[in-house]
Symmetry: C2
Subunit: 450 residues, 2 copies
């Protein structure tokens, strides 16, 4: 450990320099105009892996390329660890709320601020730096290493999902480590044993063939903004439960002892974000509502004119983006159709409705006692000198369930994210101390796995 | 009439040239960056009035300047007609739906397409051209003429409203002609005997101090988009009536004979706009709902990310722009507070709510048998050779009621707008035949008034 720590400390400036270069690529997977930037970043990343002695390649998908790298020097008898992360990031708007350029990393008070600071560039890069550290102290690797770093996690992982069946041999592994998770607070280590699935959809309501003057047509035309409000409001019942028929049918009931194993829960993030109105249905705790139950969110709404000044318009259209987080046994496609059917049948007659379902992702659940889970917990406990918690994640990594099946591996999630990191939001940041802990944790996990 | 018609026909090309110059000024009153463009347009307009022999001046307001012009050559014993219109226009978005540049007028099939083609540049300019025509045929004016052409009608007329008390002497008149209305269809003449008032407000809901990740906080944070949908949906009851307490308290009930006088009603515009879902409450006709009853519209909604791709965000804020059209006896300020109180008290606890009420405008109603109404009807009937209808307007011209009080005048509305002109919408247009009819109608109205 000391040797590793020393190597990391003495090489930290050059590691940060590379990390900052990685941050500067504008890898917003949702923005089709940035396709060449995705390629440049993937190329840079594979060059970096190659410099660390890996065999590395770019694998084309219908979207952003996948960076695949392997170091099989441990030999065919040693087990294989597949590490998953992503180099793409979320869009940056509302841009005006950023205190500094989202693609120019800036260090303030021990945190680096930029889009992707944590999610997932900062996290996957400490896993890469862990390989550099192990190589640096000239240890032979006790396990074969494979890296699968994709460029569309924030956009549904469609590209990777489509070619996954063709990658069975390449991704075959004993262990699958997902480096895209968090810890409940800065002082408490935790591994992640599951994440929710997700389905997303676009809803478009149309009330007329053109925007209308709200005086000329006010009281005549049923306004699509009103149709949208009334339709979306019906998605919940008076007790705060989701009112879409059959929505909870497939939800797995956990026994209280099963629930009790998940100890990593901290409400600091809730207080930090100044949240005073809550979405947990009557009779469910915040923990259950975020980790054990499916949720339904309106991620975006737009209709008419909402800019400065005023425009007295009845818009032709109103739209919403809706997502649902899913728990084990809920199938994304089935759930997407339930939501879509509800929206189509409940909208006011005469309003044209269009629902576009996107590719979803299944939830995953990991075995708490696998060798990988034990190695990860040991690496954390060594560093923090306290027991490692077991967490569930309310968020989603859409590809994990399928990746696990293809790899034939046992899975576990690790990470150093905190709820206060502002991921997917303005002023995303990551603590450099946590970044450094990440390097050591992954390096030691690899050693413990051997 | 023939002499006037001949003059108009032979001077039409140069009238159009001036009209197109007028159209090209980007006079969007809602856009504060266009302030100097407003001034340039007002200056151009007052120069034009001066060239027609008027005394003309720009009157500063806290917003866009007012163009005031007068021709008092009829002498102190002749009655005075005050003509009101506006040179400002609505914003142009969604810009991508325009088939040509909104500020470069283009003629297609006898219509001119541009922002303001009809509302109100096209309409007020035929009133100006009418003065040119009367001067052109060298008739002495039988009435004194005053023009009040403001630059903020589409933005609440705040500037004019604030200085109105100081303009009592200038605007003093016997008759007030509002040139900003329409006819039910291209073959039916009509005068307008009333318009609805309006109150507008901005609603902002805030659920947290920053945007949140919908996985991390989904099921925990009550989403402001959901809060907005639920709050707005409650503004109507199951019968489609507005559910805000006391909303209908001050609505004047018209007897059926009073209702029967308003004959100008045509549903072509409804069919042309492909409207298949309607907003009239149970038990009220479309006519009553648009002309005799107040209406409530959500003119804009926005929250979270609604652009291309997807962003799994729970936004910190969601917002809406809401307006209500008011009928006689309803006071804009009182109604604004009713709506505001409803929104503030009905929103889910824990959600921060901010309502910004804007300056409203009172409804107006004109006497159907004034000398002005008769002169206007006669001018129309002469041209169309059929009876002139009497209309109410569902839209609003916020300043009219106050203007009428200050001027001490009887009022009537005229115009050549059609519901299919796409005012306040992409591809606004105006028929050049109607523009020409407008010149003749105003010129003859002035003669009949003498």
């Amino acid at each position: 450990v000391k040797q590793l720590q020393h190597w990391i400390d003495s090489h930290f400036p050059s590691i940060l320099e590379d990390l900052f270069t990685f941050y500067r690529f504008k890898t917003i997977s949702a923005d089709p105009t940035l396709h060449s930037e995705m390629k440049r970043c993937a190329q840079w990343l594979s060059d970096k892996m190659r410099a660390l002695g890996c065999h590395a390649e770019l694998i084309q998908t219908k979207g952003a390329p996948l960076v695949y790298a392997e170091d099989l020097s441990a030999g065919p008898r040693a087990p294989t660890l597949l590490i998953y992360g992503h180099y793409d990031v979320q869009p940056t708007d509302p841009l005006e709320l950023w205190e500094s350029d989202p693609f120019e990393p800036v260090e303030r008070n021990g945190n680096v601020f930029c889009r992707g600071a944590q999610d997932d560039k900062g996290q996957i890069y400490y896993a890469i730096a862990a390989l550099a550290a192990l190589r640096g102290v000239q240890r032979s690797l006790p396990v074969n290493l494979k890296f699968c770093i994709e460029g569309e996690e924030e956009f549904g992982s469609n590209g990777l999902a489509a070619i996954l069946p063709t990658l069975k041999k390449k991704l075959c592994a004993d262990y699958l480590l997902i480096v895209d998770f968090g810890i409940p607070d800065a002082k408490t280590p935790a591994i992640t044993l599951g994440a929710r699935g997700i389905i997303t959809l676009d809803l478009l309501l149309r009330g007329s063939c053109r925007d209308l003057h709200s005086g000329e047509f006010g009281g005549i035309a049923y306004n699509p903004n009103r149709a949208l409000a009334e339709l979306l409001a019906h998605m919940w019942d008076a007790r705060g439960r989701i009112a879409i028929p059959h929505f909870y049918d497939d939800v797995e009931e956990l026994s209280s002892s099963e629930q009790a194993q998940f100890t990593g829960w901290d409400e600091t993030g809730i207080h930090d974000a100044h949240i005073h109105a809550f979405a947990n249905p009557e009779g469910s705790s915040l923990f259950a509502s975020n980790r054990l139950l499916p949720s339904l969110e309106i991620n975006g709404i737009a209709g008419g004119y909402a800019g400065p000044g005023f425009k007295t318009v009845i818009p032709a259209e109103a739209r919403a983006k809706i997502s649902s987080r899913l728990v084990p046994r809920q199938d994304p496609e089935k759930m997407g159709h339930l939501i879509s059917d509800f929206l189509k049948t409940r909208v006011r007659k005469g309003i044209e409705v269009k629902v576009t379902l996107h590719h979803g992702g299944k939830p995953f659940r990991a075995a708490p006692d696998s060798r990988l889970a034990q190695a990860a917990a040991r690496a954390y406990e060594e560093l923090f000198n306290k027991p490692c918690q077991k967490m569930l994640c309310g968020a989603s990594i859409p590809i994990v369930a399928d990746l696990q099946t293809i790899a034939g591996a046992s899975v576990v999630g690790i990470g150093y994210g905190l709820p206060s990191d502002n991921i997917h939001a303005p002023n995303e940041h990551f603590g450099l101390d946590r970044f450094k802990q990440g390097i050591l944790t992954v390096a030691r996990l690899i050693e413990h796995l051997g």
